[in-house]
Assembly symmetry: D2
Homo-oligomer: 349 residues x 4
Amino acid sequence: MFFASDNASGVAPELLDALGTAAAGHAMPYGNDDLTRAVEDRIRELFEAPDARVYLVGTGTAANALALGCLSPPWGRIYCHDAAHIEQDECSAPEFYTGGAKLSLIGGLDAKIGAAGLSAALVEAQPGVVHSAQPAALSISQATELGAAYTPDEIAALSRLAREAGLPVHMDGTRFSNAVARLGASPAEMSWRAGVDVLCLGATKCGAMAAEAVILFDPSRAWEFELRRKRGGHLFSKMRFVAAQMLAWLDDGLWLRLAGHANAMADRLAAGIAASGAAVLNPVDANMIFARITLGQHRRLQAAGARYYLWPKAQLPEGGDEAPVEIRLVTSFATTPNDVDRFLEVLAG
Amino acid sequence: MFFASDNASGVAPELLDALGTAAAGHAMPYGNDDLTRAVEDRIRELFEAPDARVYLVGTGTAANALALGCLSPPWGRIYCHDAAHIEQDECSAPEFYTGGAKLSLIGGLDAKIGAAGLSAALVEAQPGVVHSAQPAALSISQATELGAAYTPDEIAALSRLAREAGLPVHMDGTRFSNAVARLGASPAEMSWRAGVDVLCLGATKCGAMAAEAVILFDPSRAWEFELRRKRGGHLFSKMRFVAAQMLAWLDDGLWLRLAGHANAMADRLAAGIAASGAAVLNPVDANMIFARITLGQHRRLQAAGARYYLWPKAQLPEGGDEAPVEIRLVTSFATTPNDVDRFLEVLAG
Amino acid sequence: MFFASDNASGVAPELLDALGTAAAGHAMPYGNDDLTRAVEDRIRELFEAPDARVYLVGTGTAANALALGCLSPPWGRIYCHDAAHIEQDECSAPEFYTGGAKLSLIGGLDAKIGAAGLSAALVEAQPGVVHSAQPAALSISQATELGAAYTPDEIAALSRLAREAGLPVHMDGTRFSNAVARLGASPAEMSWRAGVDVLCLGATKCGAMAAEAVILFDPSRAWEFELRRKRGGHLFSKMRFVAAQMLAWLDDGLWLRLAGHANAMADRLAAGIAASGAAVLNPVDANMIFARITLGQHRRLQAAGARYYLWPKAQLPEGGDEAPVEIRLVTSFATTPNDVDRFLEVLAG
Amino acid sequence: MFFASDNASGVAPELLDALGTAAAGHAMPYGNDDLTRAVEDRIRELFEAPDARVYLVGTGTAANALALGCLSPPWGRIYCHDAAHIEQDECSAPEFYTGGAKLSLIGGLDAKIGAAGLSAALVEAQPGVVHSAQPAALSISQATELGAAYTPDEIAALSRLAREAGLPVHMDGTRFSNAVARLGASPAEMSWRAGVDVLCLGATKCGAMAAEAVILFDPSRAWEFELRRKRGGHLFSKMRFVAAQMLAWLDDGLWLRLAGHANAMADRLAAGIAASGAAVLNPVDANMIFARITLGQHRRLQAAGARYYLWPKAQLPEGGDEAPVEIRLVTSFATTPNDVDRFLEVLAG
């Protein structure tokens, strides 16, 4: 009953096998190897983006921060949701990699940026006024930190606003696979066709050990990205092992099967929770469920060994058994129906 | 015949097995797992340093730059050899992580910092003069970029000078294992007992996939290091896979066996080169040989598929067959006697 | 009728004279001169703070950003009002000088930080959690950007909250003189006795050419400040000319007479506006008035040559003569009763 | 007998008068005033550079560091002489403003960069190799820190090398006026016609209080410069007072008269020193003399109140009266023939 985070899961067997295969023999370091080149080609093909440039790194924070470093000058302003991972959970890595840009926070339901909020923020911005940080980029998370997925139309609407203000669009795709698996749109429709300039495509939370791809649909910033990656210490010498993971993950649709499984487990969990009478608080577009249960249920689940977070984390779970408590549950490629059913049993009491 | 670099080798089987074992099941992310804790304990024990703090990262550049970020303020001056990896090969990562410190370059044979050169530089320094970058740290490489190893006494002599000037000492130990295997001194004698404050212990070049440990012998900077690592995007969510590599590498002396093998292959190669009449240019204290051969030999080796670098890289290999050319050869845990002997055969012509 | 900003005024004659006197002869550069030492002593005495360290710079942005650089690490979080000058008007200078800290914005009437808002923000903060930027400092403006002044008790209440969370307190005192002249509290009561650790005391807006003093009540960060000032290019070689201004400004209470005059002109203006039936929107604690007038009045004033800003700046002054428009008026040491009365006449129509 | 530095002099009367005139009345802040616009026009005319953009700041360090920030990315390499002010005396301000670029040091007589040294450094550079900091800019000082002036041909030769490597050229012109006054070449010949892209034109050491102009001959980086200046805290609100100084300084050739006077005083001093039998060590192309005198002479001069620096500063003036000691003497617009003659008298004993 491990629902604390999808990054607490292990490695999918197909990826592990690929690492083993790659481990033998020599290969030129720093990405000058066949596997890395193959990943680049595979992603270009998958995204129908023949000019895209693809770079591998080991963490989502590195992917996001390096990408934003290419999009915003030090005096830039990056618009993002106030729940965004880049704002909440990366210890100011974007500020570090941009050289001190500002994150300008925008509200919106389910951690989706609202078009109205973005419009209002852009109206208030003062491009060309030297006293003010300059509008530089829009960053959106797919799926969001509250488990919702933007539709291609929603992405396009935000991108259009950004484009009109001259801003490139970054997508934190740590759970891009879950969103694609859910919505059934093509990778291209969910990214560059909807106006995304840079996608950070995460495999780590969905079956990899440590593998994230930064996809620059506009190749003009490619060399700068390479320098930033090296300078940030993110250019692996034995890059082929990151590439091997990513290749195996994308091979024959595995990535969508793994993500689809996580989503299905989330659906099963959400349905059971709702059936139990507890409230599911957000759309379950990906592999996360936010629910309001009772303190009695929480205590029971804890006692039974279930692992998950209170969300928001600052809650104090005090009071009688009927007091409400809000929790976050995350499923993964490794979640089993058994895990889910056992959780629901304990919840039911 | 792959002698281009030790980072072009693969992964030792013991480490690969450890990854497979770690891949099953769930574990809390970001280093809050049993394997990570076990590595920390193992290293404290191995280095006889019960108060040391140990942090894992994925690249040597990250290890060095994060460590130096903890040792030098933005206005600091870090003394290092002009051939040091941190100066030559990290695309100003130390400058990035320190917020703009200066690397002050010192000469010395075999890429070892000479005590006289360090003394002179420290005399010229102007601590307390606001116009001048302030002396902040000493950084030495073990083994050096020219394949030499400092003895514990040599390290202690440099550390003493640093200490008198109030400077902490950083050791880039990307090939620390090779130096220890060669000199037979204990890890403690080669590090904190000789005055080293922070050791970046590299496993990647010696059998790991991507695993480096930063060992803070002085724990007072531990929390700062953790923040810097996260902010740099170097805190792996599935940290246990880095830990699994490092644990297996240190287990039962494997690290010294792997390094000792690389050293032995280097000795065999060096002896053969010398026997052939070509000059071996530097001490072979680790797993690197710098040699002067003829252009004819070079052409023959290239034609036979041998991989290595001209060193210095800027050489133009032009001229007659008797023209000299200088090359660098690097062995690794994966080099075989066959590789070596075949190389020597082709060299002999 | 120049009410656009107090920084559009000239230089008070006493300060100009002092510059003339200082211009003759030689003096050691970089603050190693008698006038600079005299300013330091004068400010220590005036603030009853014998251990304070005093540093002169030429702009308010430099003063604030250098001070915050000493208070917050790069991964820090600085709490300030969302209308604060450091957030709105310094083009991310605090982010530059801190190496990428975050400004966390708090609301509150009249651009004063509310204690409730600060408490809530501190509760949400996650000190010790490596994923989150770390609480580092509180910054308040005296007077605020909406012309209100904190009482010593209000400052103390905020400082207490900050202190409990381990945060030092920075005061942007670009209009500190106006607040002191208004409230009649002593400089010490308005600063360190109320818990302020660093005060940026501005003279430029109140009669100087370019002179700001950073007062470190806690001298432990003095040397770091000196290095940061030099490294930022803010250590004037002919420092005595900044010192001459500041000395003359503080001499014999001139600073409070100049500020008191600006305040009195603001009162006269506010009283006249209110008498005219237009609304004065914020307390007039310093030398700024925010008022709602009609578009007809605005057009008349513009035609008569009055200079002031619409506030908020994004307003579009369109519509009929009775449409409302909100404006900001700033008085200064150089504002004359004539200026004020002429403005009121035109306003009255 | 004040020969410690030209920045220990006061303010030329013409500039002081200009400040007085500017002090009355109101003017829009931040450079949106007539005086600032007039300076820009004046400098464009003087340099025959109608497209140049001109920005005023208050210190030479700010001018240099802001300019270099526009020329080099964070991962750049700036070639300069190892005696350059930007390397020796600015506490790593260039590293701060560039975000961590490297200064690559080149030797050369009289603190002039030698073309051979620059060529060699450029050959060693590895543009396009991601492991290495990337060649980004050349910086030269006119006059140099050892009092020599580059001829236009010498500048052009270095610029040509830089241009071939794709590098823009920065000139630290803190004593540009002295060099122009000496060589008689036009400002254009000494700057953009010889390949200089950005000139930092210093007035402070030659009669101003605090006034430096950054001249961007290539206007494409103008907006970036403006943002960097503001973000660095170097955009003065009452900019007209910097402009007033610069205008008066350039008016009717005053700048060259002031510089010419300083040079003449240096000549008189150098001639006297040489006549006394002491050695003048470097060419006296500007207002600095480096001389070797005896310790006896030094003691006598000190006793008589002469102010100057030992150079290099690290010398220990110990020994008998005949022991040699090397000193630096700097004249200024304010040096009188009397000062010089008195110095020579004491020297003669």
